[in-house]
């Protein structure tokens, strides 16, 4: 799957989870850039991404992912 397609699908997931149609993520996007992305919403986001791409993050990845770029790298390695 191309990076472009992954980011497009990720944008939809982010917009849906955080209820904000204006969100557009890139590889450098972090939780600081999205107001509602805190530790409580983080898991909801992770689960939504897992459902979208039909893959699973392990707990180590869940707790150490630093930005969307790392998330995309993991997604690419699993699908």
């Amino acid at each position: 799957m191309e990076n472009k397609e992954i980011y497009e699908r990720l944008n939809n997931v982010f917009r849906d989870v955080f209820d904000d149609e204006s969100i557009t993520v890139n590889e450098n996007t972090t939780s600081d850039d999205i107001e509602d992305w805190d530790s409580l919403e983080h898991i909801n986001l992770v689960v939504a991404v897992e459902q979208e791409f039909g893959m699973k993050f392990n707990m180590n990845e869940v707790t150490t992912m630093k930005n969307v770029g790392e998330m995309v790298d993991i997604i690419k390695s699993r699908i």
Binding site: S39, I43, N58, M59
Partner: protein, 508 residues
């Protein structure tokens, strides 16, 4: 051995001297010996040896076995076994009475006359810390975050590293491994930095916390005599007492570690500047929060059970509310655990557990309403006055919850809450305020020290205060250091029978 005692001071100096004299490759051995001396200080007997052995051997053996069975079902079972072994020791030592009290309440409710007698367990200092730290270690090996430690003595040092035993912070193996077993040269800058932090910690504990404690203890020790404003003041003072004591201890611990060349994670970030309780807990006991987030909250939220519940509640109540229901359930579990971790008493479970959950829950569901009200009334929320109001509100809510934390029983906490409303303004005129453990001079010292604390905390929000101080001219720098040192010597409260503060400044 308390952090502010002379014996601890000597213990640290001896450790530091030997640590920097011996060949660098055995520095960790010195730390291990010091840590075990600290651990068993005044408490060396068969029971405490067995406790340590069970936790150490469980962590060591299961750590290696989990690593060998990485990514297998067997690995998962081994992890569960390891966690259960450590938890059994912790529960036996710290929570037996909580079970017995609960059973006694049930028996009372059922009108059965029999009561279980409460027991006394002799546990070692820091058990609540190192048991959870070792559980985290096993989970990290299971998740592939770190490798297991094959040398049992090195594993023992990770478990018992003495500075963190009295009050944390929680450490993680992968972040501390290199520092803990590495070679460290004596570094004068780290020494000065560490010493300054230790001084600041001593100032917080001896000048502020102990002094506040005298007032708080007097009021809490005589609830029938002190009501109204005395109670309100004691409740507010206790928050500050707890913060200065806890964060002061952490400052001493971080300072010692810095001199040793071992970096520990920060545990506080100016919590009283938080605008909500949610934000407050991100800045208070940070390492406990992150431990529970990574090892309890995330796995629970991601578990099949909670995910199924989230799916069902989304179908029934819609996406927004449905998502929140599963979140609140996980949060409730986590807050109850935080309460239980603070101690095996219902007062802790209510004060640092359930009440915090209720506050965060209310903040979450009421914030859209309060945003609407603010918009309708044209209240500017982006100004200093509104932020100040939010900080004060958070402080008051936290102080209220600590009534339970400080009380001996739930009924005493309820009595204190009732006493707070028994207002009598006569204390302003009759001068009785200065007879509640603290006199006029004590109050003056307190006010000035709290202003200093406030300024330092405010400065810390924009970067390290010590770095800022070290950038100043030499005269100003040393002036501040001397003022800090002499205020600890002159105004420090060193306990009954040894009170240089009383001896020196009261005679002027």
């Amino acid at each position: 051995m308390e952090l502010t005692t002379f014996s601890f001071f000597i213990f640290c100096i001896v450790t530091l001297i030997i640590y920097f004299i011996v060949p660098k490759k055995i520095q960790w051995v010195i730390l291990l010996i010091s840590s075990f001396i600290f651990l068993f200080w005044n408490n060396f007997n068969a029971s405490t040896i067995i406790q340590i052995l069970i936790i150490l051997l469980s962590s060591y053996i299961f750590g290696i076995l989990i690593e060998k069975n990485y990514n297998t079902k067997k690995g998962k079972y081994l992890l569960i076994l390891g966690i259960v072994a450590i938890l059994c020791v912790l529960i036996y030592l710290k929570y037996t009475n909580l079970f017995l009290i609960t059973i006694n309440h049930i028996l009372n409710f059922l009108n059965i006359g029999y009561r279980f007698e409460l027991v006394h367990r002799n546990s070692l200092i820091g058990i609540s810390y190192y048991s959870l730290i070792m559980i985290g270690y096993l989970i990290d090996i299971y998740r592939g975050v770190c490798k297991s430690q094959k040398n049992i003595f090195k594993c023992a040092l990770f478990m018992s590293y003495f500075p963190i035993l009295p009050s944390g912070p929680f450490i993680r193996y992968n972040s501390i491994e290199e520092d803990l077993y590495g070679k460290h040269k004596f570094n004068f800058k780290s020494f000065c930095n560490g010493l300054l932090r230790i001084l600041w910690g001593l100032f917080k504990i001896l000048v502020i916390s102990q002094r506040l404690g005298m007032f708080v203890d007097t009021v809490y020790g005589n609830l029938s005599s002190y009501t109204g404003f005395y109670t309100i003041l004691a409740v507010l003072f206790f928050s500050l007492q707890l913060y200065t004591n806890f964060s002061g201890s952490i400052d001493i611990i971080m300072g010692i570690s810095e001199i040793l060349g071992i970096t520990l994670p920060e545990n506080f970030k100016a919590p009283f500047f938080s605008k909500t309780i949610t934000e407050f807990w991100r800045n208070w006991h940070i390492t406990l929060g992150s431990w529970l987030r990574d090892y309890v909250f995330y796995p629970l939220q991601k578990s099949n059970m909670i995910q199924k519940l989230a799916k069902k509640s989304k179908q029934k109540f819609g996406k927004k509310i449905g998502k929140k229901i599963s979140l609140y359930i996980s949060m409730l579990v986590m807050w109850i655990l935080i309460g239980i971790w603070h101690g095996g008493k219902y007062t802790f479970i209510i004060g640092t557990g359930l009440l915090q959950f209720v506050f965060i829950f209310l903040e979450d569901i009421l914030s859209p309403i309060s945003n609407k009200i603010n918009k309708k009334l044209n209240i500017n929320t982006d100004v200093f006055s509104y932020k100040l109001y939010q900080c004060i509100r958070t402080f008051l809510l936290f102080s209220f919850s600590l009534i339970f934390f400080r009380s001996n029983s739930v009924s005493q906490a309820l009595l204190i809450i009732r006493n707070m409303f028994d207002l009598d303004l006569s204390f302003i005129l009759n001068g009785n305020l200065f007879k509640v453990g603290l006199d006029v001079l004590d109050f003056m010292v307190l006010i000035i020290s709290l202003i200093c604390l406030f300024i330092v905390e405010l400065l810390s929000l924009s970067g390290s205060v010590r770095e800022k101080l070290f950038k100043q001219n030499i005269v100003f720098r040393w002036l501040i250091i001397y003022i800090l040192l002499f205020s600890i010597i002159i105004f420090g409260c060193y306990g009954v029978g040894y009170d240089p503060a009383a001896f020196i400044y009261r005679n002027f």
